[in-house]
């Protein structure tokens, strides 16, 4: 327990330490880089290379020192200051405030969504404190089949767990503001009924005791606006997803503990698996609509960072609380699905550039915006850095009176090149990337029981090495993907809002080649250029070239659940949640496997199934929603005239929103049957 309330003075020494060390390291590296580049004087392209290197190195230096802070935090085994934790007596008492647990969804698989809601609900019920919670599934689904299936799944869930009056379902037919608009709609209609808002994602899962602890921490810390519990990746079988799960379990705790340790009450919100204080959220976190057109203007896409900044601006603190645990989500099943998600996040984060200078924000909020931007912009910066390096070398060759042999002597492997110095710098850069990983490995190896749950010490080390090889090979492809997304956003491409792929399905070779053909071409060009201009650099660039050439194969093979399960049987990439899964995960898995009655055609289902018909009309009656008159009129013409022409999705939705037409159609159908 720490009763001392949070103050900026608590964070100052920690921030000076992490940011100062990152700045110092970057300074040393930049001086060394300048020395390497200026062997024959410094040209303009070389100055550009130096500037890019400094920026990129600063980013990895910040990640490195954040990781070191996390390691120190975990080894010290102490809680960060500023949050008041409950005493034993307080922890055993009832909750006095009410929390809404909400799950916004958009065309997701209802079986999985409601399995996760049910597992979380039952887990909260098992704590004996269910009375303090209500659950809401907030649907923005636009596909009629998903909509009707959700209604049936919700009704079935209420029946199963006797959840009438505690588990609610609301669907919007207008998706204004996307996920943030969905949540805002909830807050404006039901928010005042609750003290706290616990936000889940469609694939989120939370253990009941963690949910209760989050609500209790909010009760005990009236100055806390948001508590974020970092979710662990779990529950997938493909090799790609299992690699993500393993990496997250191995290095995630260091990263999260580090961020929590130096950011304290000025941390960030990741959009789900977090609890928010309702009143200030309603009062101070209504999202602005940015001036201009997409991609930079319009509705804010990545709402979480902005909501955290607004909450902080209003004087409430934002905390990362990794020690609570019991917070889960699912990773994307393959590299392409991961990239698809990245594309969405990339545009959302780049949109924050327009808010960095906004008046009244806390400096740490500005830093979170910049770090979010850097997490995507770092890729094109590295790419430009590599290209600029090549350009700077060619520039020297073209504009200096040197022969090809002399020119090649200035490149890596050449006599005039300070190979030892370059190797030192490269080793330092690689060390900064790898040391946090090794610290994560060290922490697990030091805990015999944890190491046993991750396959044993030998398998654990082997898994780390293999994961390192695969992620190194994937890195160039991700660099090109992210560069494409950043440049695409800057050029004005818009992101379409589609639900994330969450199924473990094999990736066809044709799709992999289609998506990676340009990556392979870049690999071929890079290899050809290297051989022609600087053969000595081939060995240095071989991981990049190989990664690009092998991109389709890497995508296809890592997308296979069979390979993921094969590795699991051999004890590779194991996480404790696979070896000894928590009850809430087991339950969610059981429920997901039970599945739901499929809804192949929403309208046909509502017209033929009496249960679906009665339920759908009752929900329409409870929450009448205005339809589209034009679409309804044309649908009625087709349906009531007995035309064979199929309904468009808009017409189908219009009919499903109109109780009169539905009753009429059902009457006709029964009449025909009679």
């Amino acid at each position: 327990m720490n009763a001392e309330p949070y103050s900026p003075a608590m964070a100052r020494p920690r921030r000076v330490m992490v940011l100062g060390l990152a700045a110092l390291t970057t300074g040393f590296a930049s001086v060394e880089m300048h020395r390497l580049l200026s062997a024959r004087g410094t040209t303009v392209p070389e100055l550009l290379v130096l500037a890019l290197f400094t920026l990129c190195f600063a980013w990895i230096a910040l990640s490195f020192w954040g990781g070191v802070a996390g390691f120190v935090q975990l080894v010290s085994n102490r809680r960060v200051p500023g949050l008041r934790w409950p005493t034993e007596a307080e922890a055993a008492g009832p909750l006095t405030r009410r929390t809404a647990v909400v799950m916004p969804i958009h065309n997701e698989d209802p079986a999985s969504v409601f399995a996760h809601v049910q597992a979380t609900y039952e887990s909260v019920a098992a704590t004996g404190l269910l009375e303090a919670f209500d659950f809401y599934v907030l649907s923005d689904s636009t596909r009629a089949e998903a909509w009707v299936a959700e209604e049936l799944a919700w009704s079935e869930l209420c029946r199963r767990v006797n959840g009438q009056g505690r588990i609610f379902y609301r669907r919007r037919s207008d998706n204004t503001g996307k996920k943030a608009g969905n949540l805002a709609d909830f807050c404006e209609r039901w928010g005042r009924r609750y003290d706290f808002l616990l936000v889940l994602d469609a694939d989120s899962l939370m253990a009941g005791d963690s949910v209760v602890k989050m609500a209790r921490l909010m009760e005990l810390n009236p100055g806390a606006g948001i508590l974020q519990v970092p979710p662990q990746n779990v529950g997938r079988s493909t090799l790609f997803a299992r690699l993500q799960q393993f990496a997250g379990r191995m290095y995630g705790p260091i990263v999260a503990a580090g961020a929590a340790a130096w950011q304290l009450g000025d941390s960030n919100y990741w959009g789900h698996n977090a609890i928010l204080r309702m009143a200030p959220f309603i009062e101070h976190c209504g999202l602005p609509v940015l001036p201009g057109q997409q991609p930079f203007g319009g509705h804010i896409l990545s709402h979480d960072f902005v909501e955290a900044a607004l909450m902080r601006r209003a004087g409430f603190t934002v905390w990362l609380v990794p020690e609570l645990g019991g917070s889960y989500e699912q990773p994307p099943p393959d590299l392409l699905a991961y990239a698809q998600r990245d594309r969405r996040w990339c545009q959302g984060n780049l949109q924050h550039l327009g808010l960095v200078m906004a008046g009244g924000l806390h400096p740490m909020s500005r830093m979170h915006f910049l770090m979010g931007v850097m997490s995507y912009v770092a890729s094109p910066l590295w790419l430009i850095f590599l290209v600029s390096g090549l350009f700077a070398a060619l520039h020297e060759w073209f504009f200096s009176p040197v022969t090809l042999v002399d020119f090649q002597s200035t490149l890596p492997g050449g006599d005039a090149f300070d190979t030892a110095g370059a190797l030192r710098l490269m080793a330092a850069s690689l060390a900064m990337l790898w040391i946090p990983r090794l610290m994560g490995l060290g922490l697990v190896l030091a805990d015999r029981a944890e190491a046993a749950r991750m396959g044993g010490r030998f398998k654990l080390v082997l898994s780390v090495a293999l994961e390192g090889v695969v992620s190194t090979l994937m890195a160039p492809v991700m660099m090109l993907f992210q560069s494409h997304f950043v440049f695409g956003t800057l050029l004005g491409y818009r992101v379409t809002w589609s639900s994330q792929q969450r199924e473990d399905t094999d990736l066809p070779w044709s799709e992999a080649f289609r998506r990676h053909k340009w990556h392979m071409a870049v690999g071929v060009v890079l290899a050809a250029l290297t051989v022609a201009v600087a053969p000595g650099m081939l060995a240095w660039l071989s991981p990049v070239i190989l990664g690009l050439w092998l991109a389709p194969a890497i995508s296809v093979y890592t997308a296979r659940a069979s390979l993921g399960l094969w590795a699991q049987r051999r004890g590779l990439f194991l996480i404790p949640e696979e070896v000894a899964p928590p009850a809430v995960l087991v339950r969610a898995q059981e429920l997901s496997e039970e599945g739901l009655e499929p809804v192949d055609d929403a309208l046909d289902h509502v017209l033929t199934d009496p249960r679906a018909h009665a339920l759908h009309l009752a929900l329409l009656e409870a929450h009448p929603t205005a339809g589209v008159p034009g679409a309804l009129a044309s649908a009625r013409r087709k349906l009531l005239a007995g035309a064979v022409e199929p309904l468009s999705p808009q017409e189908k939705s219009a009919v499903l929103l109109d109780a009169r037409t539905l009753s009429e159609l059902r009457g006709r159908r029964l009449g025909v049957r009679a």
Binding site: W190, G191, P288, A358, P610
Partner: protein, 141 residues
């Protein structure tokens, strides 16, 4: 409402071997509309309505009339309106679990859009250069 089990008294209904297949199908459809799904239940309900001497195509009308005359709607209303303690627990639970309650009563409020001056420095310059121009703030909804 997965299925509805018929009351025991229906098992005493007479057999109906002579009922036409299309008539029986129409009646089954009618009772399916009320949630009866079991084959045996549907046959017994159809037998109960038709009786042994059934003829003619107007059975659906007779079936609806039977539902009205037997007071089906009144029974339902009675169950819904009675004090919970007067109902058998199984009935009470069945009714409670079947009434869809999508969301509780709303408590409307407005989540005001926050106004952010996106670049305070440029805002100062703007005010100095063109005092009448529009501020670079997030526009309101």
């Amino acid at each position: 409402m997965d299925s509805v089990t018929t009351h025991p008294f229906l098992s005493f209904a007479p057999e109906m071997p002579q009922a036409r297949a299309d008539t029986r199908e129409a009646l089954e459809g009618f009772f399916q509309d009320f949630g009866f799904t079991g084959r045996g239940d549907l046959e017994r309900l159809a037998s109960w309505v038709l009786g042994p001497s059934h003829v003619g195509p107007s059975l659906l009308v007779r079936g609806r009339a039977a539902f009205v005359l037997v007071g089906g709607a009144r029974w339902g209303a009675d169950v819904l309106m009675r004090e919970p303690r007067n109902l058998p627990e199984a009935w009470r639970r069945a009714v409670c679990e079947s009434v869809p309650m999508a969301a509780p009563a709303e408590v409307p409020c407005q989540m005001r859009e926050q106004v952010l001056v996106l670049n305070p420095f440029m805002e100062l310059v703007r005010r100095w250069l063109r005092p009448d121009s529009r501020a670079d703030v997030s526009p309101s909804r």
